[in-house]
Symmetry: C2
Subunit: 169 residues, 2 copies
């Protein structure tokens, strides 16, 4: 396939995965061109001590806005809330997801949601894979020298890869 | 007390109450000057048919932003999530609350949260008051000719009055 092949250009997509957390929100940006996929960026935003919910939502919203502005993803893939959580934690994480989805939607980015099980199944092949298995597979799939850190960033990359796999096949 | 009394000016506050809902989000704006309180505005934003969660969050976020821009409240009082809900509904409403609190926080408005029970107790005097009792009391307290509609707007005014009462005494 030539570099100027329009099909190749059409299939190029930048995907931003997000792992929302009450304390740490991880992000991972990957770029798929044809059958090749590479990591563009990953990182995390951490809660400040004694942060109010209003401060937390502003911090995460601005963090996601900045990453969108810098890497211009076409897709934002967010991990869906894990229903086994307790009610207080479910409420807190859902509020944060609201701010994240809003940041994407206001920027005109397409939003997709995947459950933790779907992400593990897409990346490792098993819905009950361990955190370490996910990290090792992310490292292998993206050809990284070491596992991405913090693990929230690795999880976010897994969510982005999950979207990529689900759309590809 | 003279109109030019600085204490009187200091005590003037515009409070925006919000009742977040999956289908309808009610708002009510009240202004307190000294011991007087009056309604400034009330209304509601309703979901469109087949609205995605991203569209819903954008609609509610912009609605709250517009009201803040028009009435410049110092305080945003939001009804806290009712924990008796089912998990799916708790998740949905918490995401909407995230967008609402974010709209207030980005505009530099102070955010307060009150449970449905606190609101009923502050307005009617009983935490288990009925919806009709709340509406009648709102009408009486604000000297309105009829009960505010839709009831989501009345509930939002109740939340604003709850904040006003709690801060006053």
């Amino acid at each position: 396939m030539k570099a100027s092949d329009p099909n190749r250009l059409d299939s190029a997509t930048t995907i931003m995965g997000i792992d929302p957390g009450g304390e740490v929100t991880g992000i991972g940006v990957v770029r798929r061109e044809g059958n090749m996929i590479r990591m563009v960026a990953c990182g995390a935003s951490r809660a400040r001590k004694g942060e109010s919910i209003a401060e937390k939502l502003c911090r995460v919203f601005r963090f996601v806005q900045e990453i969108i502005e810098e890497y211009r993803p076409e897709v934002l893939a967010v991990e869906d809330t894990f229903y086994g959580r307790n009610v207080k934690s479910l409420k807190s994480i859902s509020q944060i997801r609201g701010a994240i989805i809003l940041a994407g939607a206001l920027a005109g980015v397409s939003i997709y949601e995947y459950s933790p099980r779907e992400v593990k199944k897409a990346v490792v092949g098993r819905g009950d894979a361990s955190k370490e298995q996910v990290q090792k597979m992310i490292q292998a799939l993206l050809g990284l020298e070491s596992a991405p850190k913090p693990h929230d960033a690795a999880d976010a990359l897994a969510i982005a890869l999950c979207h990529s796999h689900r759309r590809q096949f």
